[in-house]
């Protein structure tokens, strides 16, 4: 006997909803097996990992706080990914967004202008776009592969941030430690929910999801991008230049990553340091795919991803498991999700082996 996948005449609607549930179910199951193998009670493990982080309002707020940069980056990236524009350098764009937007906060230190914060957000977006424009330009002008150039620029961005906080932007009263001054109150995002760290950035992220949805589903340009992604030839046939999708895809990703960056430094961090992002730009790629490049999917997958991070912290605290378990779970979840997507377009059938 041999397992064979037959293409369905059209994607199964039922499976579209069932497959992510199946994947999450499989992840829970294999997670519990993993806990068992490690000598922990599976039920206890499940509780600690997946439920503990959400036991109170603060935990829920933290979940959304953690999901915000992932949401922002993922929705921006999904625009490009749909058109087969592979921007894998969102991490670098996030850092430059934080640097440019944060630079404004440092330059206008002590300013009470209500315009400062909006200007920081906008310049954060512009910073991210600027960094994304480099691979876009190199791709459209010189045909250089954007996967690699955008990735290389991540390392350059990290070193730029490092240089800025070790050098010119170092807090003069900070005993030479590599960080800037703390931002003033007028340069910090307002808190949405008193007693938590949940800030305005969540609304940016939700807004980005809505705009992303409208762009991809209701605008002609979004439609063209999707067509261009499905087949370059068809895209050209529809009168859409590949260059334009590269620019739009890269800039959308860069802008959103930049907003994510400035939101982190003007939000929970409050200053520029060398540790702005624990890899949000990379994790967002997973979020985008797990969310099937759709804004609604991205909303849920970013929350799930945030939960996996927080669950890992809990597992260390209450189960004495090492921190790497978060990554094991993330990888498993992604594999299961990718794997179970096969049921949307294909029907599994057992067939007798030919021969």
């Amino acid at each position: 006997m041999w397992l064979k996948f037959e293409q369905r005449p059209e994607p199964s609607r039922v499976m579209t909803y069932l497959s992510p549930l199946l994947a999450v179910g499989l992840m829970f199951l294999s997670g519990m097996i993993l806990f068992f193998v490690l000598g922990k009670s599976p039920v206890e493990g499940f509780k600690v990992f997946f439920m503990n982080p959400l036991k109170d309002m603060y935990g829920v707020a933290e979940l959304f706080l953690k999901a915000t940069p992932l949401m922002l980056c993922a929705v921006g990236l999904s625009v490009g990914f749909k058109a087969n524009v592979w921007n894998i350098g969102a991490e670098g764009q996030l850092l430059i967004g934080a640097l440019v937007g944060g630079g404004l906060a440092l330059h206008f230190e002590g300013s009470n202008s209500p315009l400062l914060l909006p200007a920081m957000i906008v310049s954060g977006a512009l910073g991210g776009m600027l960094w994304a424009a480099i691979p876009a330009f190199l791709r459209t002008r010189f045909n250089a592969n954007e996967i690699l150039t955008s990735l290389m620029l991540v390392y350059v961005a990290e070193l730029l941030v490092s240089w800025a906080v070790h050098g010119p932007w170092k807090d003069p009263d900070g005993f030479n430690f590599p960080q800037t001054k703390m931002f003033g109150a007028k340069a910090t995002l307002p808190i949405l929910l008193a007693g938590t760290r949940l800030n305005l950035a969540l609304l940016f992220a939700l807004g980005a999801l809505v705009v992303g949805w409208i762009f991809m589903n209701r605008s002609f340009m979004g439609y063209q991008m999707k067509v261009a992604g499905q087949a370059e030839f068809a895209g050209r046939y529809a009168g859409f230049s590949a260059k334009r999708s590269v620019w739009i895809g890269m800039l959308a990703g860069g802008a959103m990553a930049g907003v994510a960056g400035i939101s982190e430094v003007a939000g929970p961090i409050g200053q520029i340091t060398e540790h702005i992002s624990p890899g949000y730009g990379f994790a967002a790629m997973i979020v985008a795919f797990v969310g099937r490049l759709s804004p609604i999917g991205i909303f849920f997958s970013s929350l799930l991803m945030a939960l996996l991070y927080m669950g890992g912290e809990q597992a260390q605290q209450y189960l004495n498991l090492p921190s790497s378990i978060s990554k094991v779970f993330q990888g498993m979840l992604l594999f299961f999700l990718l794997g179970s997507d096969v049921f949307i377009n294909f029907r599994p059938r057992l067939v007798r082996r030919r021969k």
Partner: protein
């Protein structure tokens, strides 16, 4: 399987015992919960490993009175605040945050938990319930430099360093001053790898320095790669190494001459006792050899007896406060006198060091 898992089992066993004890005993006897936050995985050597040794030592010495818990690999960005808060909310009454990047989150969380005592390593912000602690690593560096100056044949020492922050720079300068104090011809060369932890790069940097003639090698990075590189080149080039953070003799059984080892256990025990006795009123500890927070890694038998004797004598002088690694005159690389003869450098000046002293051959990385 290994001693770490054994340790985990012991900890959870202890926790279990403690919780069963709790049921019968009055609540006053409940052990105090203490939490630690680490910036990297504990591993087997390095900054975090030393803190974890300290935690274990303290827990063993305070058996029954405390239980400890640690969270490793906590990023220094936005996540730290949540994890510190969780520890506080979870009933930990004393919390140690062991990396510079936790400074602002520690201060923020401490404000909402006035009855919890926080201790932050290497920072400079304090509050009513936030103490800070650090160690005078440079004292050990100076003594390592003396050994290097006595034993070098090429008169060149190589230094693999992570980032040009004062803590690292003062180590380089102290090592250089130690080396030059016994060997005026000595020079120190520095390679910055711009990473606290990248064994591959650290090794490359060490190999580069060795091939450029350095026969004394040390590092201010987090892995054992530099000591291992020296061990490998020892036979061919006669390279010697000085470990940092941890004693790495295991990784350089022949090549390691000595090293600067961080010892946090005594401090942790002392401070926890103070807090438990309600005698704690705030901490700003910058302890050195005298306080037992810095120890020389045991000198190997390759160090000639007369050098050993001299180093022990200098160590005693530092302990007694008679010798200061940054006693004037301190002259920078460009020949400018930073501190005149007869004065010892103040702590705040040491903490703001952003120049090399005379004897460092590399150019200071100006930003």
């Amino acid at each position: 399987m290994n001693r770490r898992n054994l340790a985990l089992a012991t900890i959870s066993g202890a926790a279990l015992l403690a919780s069963t004890a709790l049921m019968g005993a009055p609540p006053a006897a409940a052990p105090t919960k203490i939490g630690f936050i680490y910036v990297s995985p504990v591993g087997d050597a390095g900054w975090t490993y030393q803190h974890d040794l300290g935690r274990k030592q303290m827990e063993a010495e305070m058996k029954g009175a405390v239980t400890t818990k640690f969270i490793e690999n906590v990023p220094e960005g936005a996540d730290a605040e949540r994890i510190i808060r969780q520890l506080a909310q979870d009933g930990n009454k004393i919390i140690f945050t062991t990396s510079f990047g936790y400074m602002n989150p520690t201060i923020k969380v401490a404000a909402s938990y006035p009855d919890v005592a926080f201790f932050h390593a290497t920072g400079y912000k304090t509050a009513k319930n936030v103490g800070i602690y650090n160690a005078r690593f440079y004292e050990g560096r100076y003594l390592n430099g003396v050994i290097a100056g006595k034993m070098t044949k090429s008169n060149i020492a190589g230094y693999v360093a992570a980032f040009p922050i004062p803590e690292v720079v003062m180590g380089i300068n102290a090592f250089t001053r130690g080396m030059k104090s016994v060997n005026p011809k000595a020079e120190v060369r520095v390679i910055w790898v711009n990473s606290w932890f990248d064994p591959g790069k650290e090794r490359e940097a060490a190999m580069t320095l060795i091939s450029q003639g350095a026969d004394m090698i040390t590092h201010h990075t987090d892995s054992t790669a530099v000591v291992q590189a020296a061990e490998e080149k020892h036979k061919e080039k006669g390279t010697w190494a000085f470990s940092y953070h941890s004693d790495m003799a295991k990784y350089g059984p022949t090549a390691q001459l000595s090293g600067t080892t961080h010892v946090w256990g005594d401090f942790y025990t002392r401070i926890v006792k103070e807090v438990l006795a309600k005698k704690w009123t705030g901490t700003n500890v910058w302890g050195g050899i005298k306080d037992g927070m810095i120890k020389l890694a045991p000198m190997s038998k390759s160090v000639p007896p007369d050098v050993q004797k001299q180093v022990h004598q200098l160590e005693a002088e530092i302990k007694a406060g008679k010798l200061h690694p940054f006693a004037g005159p301190v002259i920078d690389q460009g020949g400018k006198e930073i501190l005149p003869k007869g004065k010892n450098m103040s702590d705040s000046d040491i903490n703001a060091m952003n120049y090399y002293v005379q004897g460092v051959a590399s150019v200071f990385p100006k930003n």
